[in-house]
C-alpha cells in the first residue's frame, strides 16, 4: 500500500508528507511518554539523588522511588 501511494507521488511530495507525519508521531510520543521528565534539563534535586544512591532502601525494589509529593506533582 505504501509502495503504491509513494510510487505515484513526486519525491518532494512524498518526503514532505513523510516529514510531516514523522514530526506528528514524534510529538505524540514525546507528549504521551516523555513530556514530564524526572530530570528536567538534566538536573534533579540533590536530595533525591542522595536518597537513591545512599539511602538504605534496596535500589532494586518498588516501581518508583520518587517522594509521594513529587509523584503528585507529576
Amino acid at each position: 500500500m505504501i509502495w503504491r501511494r509513494l510510487h505515484g507521488r513526486s519525491l518532494a511530495a512524498a518526503i514532505t508528507a513523510a516529514l510531516l507525519l514523522k514530526m506528528l508521531i514524534l510529538y505524540a510520543l514525546w507528549r504521551a511518554f516523555f513530556a514530564q521528565p524526572q530530570a528536567v534539563h538534566m538536573h534533579m534535586p540533590a536530595a533525591q539523588v542522595e536518597q537513591h544512591l545512599l539511602g538504605s532502601a534496596p535500589a532494586t525494589t518498588g516501581s518508583s522511588s520518587l517522594p509521594s509529593s513529587s509523584k503528585g506533582e507529576r
Binding site: 514523522k22 511518554f33 524526572q38 534539563h41 538534566m42 544512591l53 516501581s63
Partner: protein, 530 residues
C-alpha cells in the same frame, strides 16, 4: 525477576533499539555527503555535465536518507530525562556543552545547507554550490564529533570530578573532554565506517546498472569513485580500528579483555584468539585457535608489556570495590553533616572508587555491610558477558575484511579495464550493500555492551542510572518507537528502491536509459520493468 530490574532492562532495551535504528540512517549521511563533494569537485574542475548529474542523482538518494533520518536521534534525548534521570543528573554538567553545540551549530549548519544543496543549483555559481555541498558534509561530521565526544566521555570520563554537594560530575576541563583519546579514536573510526557504508552503497547500485548494461558511463564513473573512496576508507577503518584497540588496551582494559576472551594474563606479547567458544561459566575459551604475539602488539605496541586477563582484572576490581565501600561510608559521613577536614580527606582519598562501591547497591542496600558472597557477585558484574563481545567483534572484523576484498578487486579490475568480465564481483557488490550497516551496528554493540556494568565507566553503574518509570509506560513507548522507526525505514527503503531503479533517468535530463525511445517503448509494454 525483580520489578525494577525489568525497568532497567527495558530502559536499556529501549535505548539500544532506538540508538541502533537511528544509526541505520547516520552512516550513509556521513559518507555520501563527502562522496557528493568529490563528484561535484570533479564537475567544477572538468566542467563535464555527467559529474553534475552524478552529484544530483546520488544527492537525491542522500536527500531521502537525510529526510528520513533527521531528528531520529532526538528520541535518545527524550529518554535521558525520563528513563535515565539519575544518569542525566550525573552527566548533565558535562553533556550540556557538547549536546548544545551539536544542536545549535552542527545540526543547523547541516540542515540549512542541505536546503541550499537541493534548491541552489540554478541560484548559485558552480564554486558556491560546491561550497554548500562541502558545508553539508562538514556539518554532518561536526555533528557526529560532538555526539561522539559525549559518548567517548561515558567510556573514559576525563576532565570532570564528582561533587558530593550536588551529587553529580562537574566539568573541570572542557579541553580534556574534547581531546579525550577515546572520543577522538571513536570519531575517526565511526566517520570512516560511514564512508565505507556510502561507498558500498554507491558501488552496489552502480554494479546493478552495469549488470543491467544501462547508463554505463554514469555507472562506471560512480563505480570508480566508490571503489577508490571505499578502498581508502576501508584501509582507514582497519588502521583506526587498530588504534581503537590500542586505546582500549590503555583505558578500557576490561572491554578489551572481554572482546578477546582473554581470561588469563598471558606472557608478553600475548597471542590473539582468532576463533573459539568463550565459556563465561568455566572462564575458558574452548576450541581456541590462536595467533602468537598479535594481541600484545595491537594492544600494547610492544613485545614486553602483558595484556591483563579477565581474572586478574577481577582481582583488581575486588580491591576497588572494597575501597568503594570505604568511600561510600565516607560519603555517608559527609552527607550526614560531618564537614570536618578529616571527613573530607577520607572521602577524597577514595572517591575514585566510589562507583565500584555503588556496584554493591544491587545486592547490599547499605553497601558497607556487604558480605563476601555479595562482594563476589559485584566483582563478577564488573565484566560484561564475553561471548556477545567476542562474536560481535569478530563478525565486524570479518565483514571489514570482506569489504577490503570487494573494494580492492573493484579497484584492480577497474584500472585494468577488465570489470565487465567480472560479473561475480558486480553481483557480490550488489549483495554486499546492507553489510556495512551490519558491521556498524555490531561495532556499537561492542562499544556499548562492552561498557557494562557502567553507564559512566567506573563512576555510575547502569542499575543506579535508570529512573523508576512504570513498566507499562516503557512497554508502550518501546512499541511506539519500534513502530515509528519501522515506518521510517519502510518509507526510506521504498523511496530508495524506486529511485535507484530509475537511476539517473529520474533527473529528467533526456540523456539516460529510461528516457531513450527504445526503453520508453519497452516500459510502455511492461511497466513493471522500472
Amino acid at each position: 525477576m525483580n520489578p525494577l530490574d525489568d525497568v532497567v532492562n527495558l530502559s536499556r532495551l529501549q535505548f539500544a533499539a532506538t540508538a541502533l535504528y537511528h544509526f541505520l540512517f547516520v552512516p550513509l549521511t556521513l559518507g555520501l555527503s563527502w562522496m557528493l563533494v568529490i563528484m561535484e569537485s570533479v564537475y567544477v574542475m572538468t566542467g563535464k555535465e555527467i559529474y553534475r548529474d552524478m552529484t544530483k542523482f546520488w544527492g537525491k538518494l542522500f536527500g531521502i536518507n537525510f529526510a528520513m533520518g533527521v531528528a531520529t536521534g532526538i528520541t535518545l534525548e527524550f529518554q535521558f530525562g525520563t528513563n535515565w534521570a539519575y544518569y542525566s543528573h550525573y552527566v548533565g554538567d558535562i553533556f550540556g556543552t557538547p549536546l548544545a553545540i551539536e544542536g545549535l551549530m552542527a545540526f543547523f549548519l547541516e540542515s540549512t545547507f542541505v536546503g541550499l544543496f537541493f534548491f541552489g543549483w540554478t541560484k548559485l555559481s558552480k564554486v558556491q554550490h560546491l561550497g554548500v555541498t562541502f558545508l553539508v558534509a562538514f556539518g554532518s561530521s561536526l555533528s557526529a564529533l560532538w555526539i561522539l565526544i559525549a559518548n567517548g566521555w561515558m567510556n573514559h570520563p576525563v576532565g570532570a570530578e564528582f561533587n558530593y554537594v550536588t551529587m553529580r560530575m562537574e566539568l573541570t576541563s572542557i579541553v580534556d573532554v574534547i581531546f579525550n583519546p577515546v572520543a577522538q579514536v571513536k570519531f575517526v573510526h565511526t566517520v570512516a565506517a560511514g564512508y565505507v557504508t556510502a561507498s558500498m552503497f554507491v558501488l552496489g547500485i552502480s554494479s546493478y546498472y552495469l549488470l543491467k548494461a544501462r547508463d554505463i558511463p554514469f555507472a562506471l564513473r560512480s563505480f570508480a569513485i566508490a571503489a577508490g573512496f571505499g578502498l581508502a576508507s576501508t584501509l582507514s577503518v582497519i588502521v583506526l580500528g587498530d588504534e581503537s584497540g590500542y586505546t582500549a588496551g590503555e583505558v578500557n582494559k576490561t572491554k578489551l579483555a572481554a572482546i578477546e576472551a582473554e581470561w588469563e594474563t598471558q606472557p608478553a606479547p600475548a597471542g590473539i584468539t582468532v576463533v573459539g567458544w568463550p565459556n563465561d561459566q568455566t572462564e575458558h575459551t574452548d576450541y581456541a585457535v590462536k595467533i602468537p604475539y598479535v594481541l600484545g602488539l595491537i594492544a600494547t605496541r610492544s613485545v614486553d608489556t602483558p595484556v591483563t586477563g579477565i581474572k586478574e582484572l577481577k582481582q583488581g576490581n575486588e580491591v576497588r570495590i572494597r575501597n568503594g565501600m570505604k568511600a561510600y561510608a565516607a560519603l555517608t559521613r559527609l552527607k550526614s553533616g560531618d564537614k570536618s577536614p578529616e571527613a573530607r580527606a577520607a572521602f577524597d582519598a577514595l572517591k575514585d572508587d566510589l562507583g565500584y562501591g555503588l556496584l554493591l547497591k544491587k545486592y547490599a542496600p547499605k553497601v558497607i555491610d556487604a558480605t563476601e558472597a555479595q562482594i563476589k557477585l559485584a566483582v563478577n558484574d564488573t565484566v560484561p558477558h564475553v561471548a556477545p563481545m567476542f562474536w560481535s567483534f569478530r563478525i565486524m572484523v570479518g565483514l571489514g575484511l570482506l569489504f577490503l576484498f570487494i573494494f580492492s578487486c573493484s579497484f584492480f579490475f577497474l584500472i585494468r579495464k577488465r570489470l565487465a568480465a567480472q560479473r561475480w564481483l558486480l553481483k557480490l557488490a550488489v549483495l554486499a550493500i546492507p553489510l556495512p550497516w551490519v558491521a556498524a551496528e555490531l561495532g556499537w554493540v561492542v562499544a556499548e555492551y562492552g561498557r557494562q556494568p557502567w553507564t559512566i565507566a567506573g563512576i555510575l553503574p547502569t542499575h543506579l542510572s535508570a529512573s523508576t518509570v512504570p513498566v507499562g509506560s516503557l512497554y508502550f513507548s518501546l512499541a511506539g518507537f519500534l513502530g515509528f522507526y519501522t515506518f521510517l525505514l519502510v518509507i526510506e527503503m521504498t523511496l530508495m528502491i524506486k529511485f535507484a531503479r530509475k537511476g539517473p533517468s529520474s533527473l529528467h535530463t533526456g540523456n539516460y536509459h529510461w528516457e531513450q525511445p527504445a526503453a520508453i517503448a519497452a516500459m510502455a509494454a511492461n511497466p513493471a520493468t522500472i
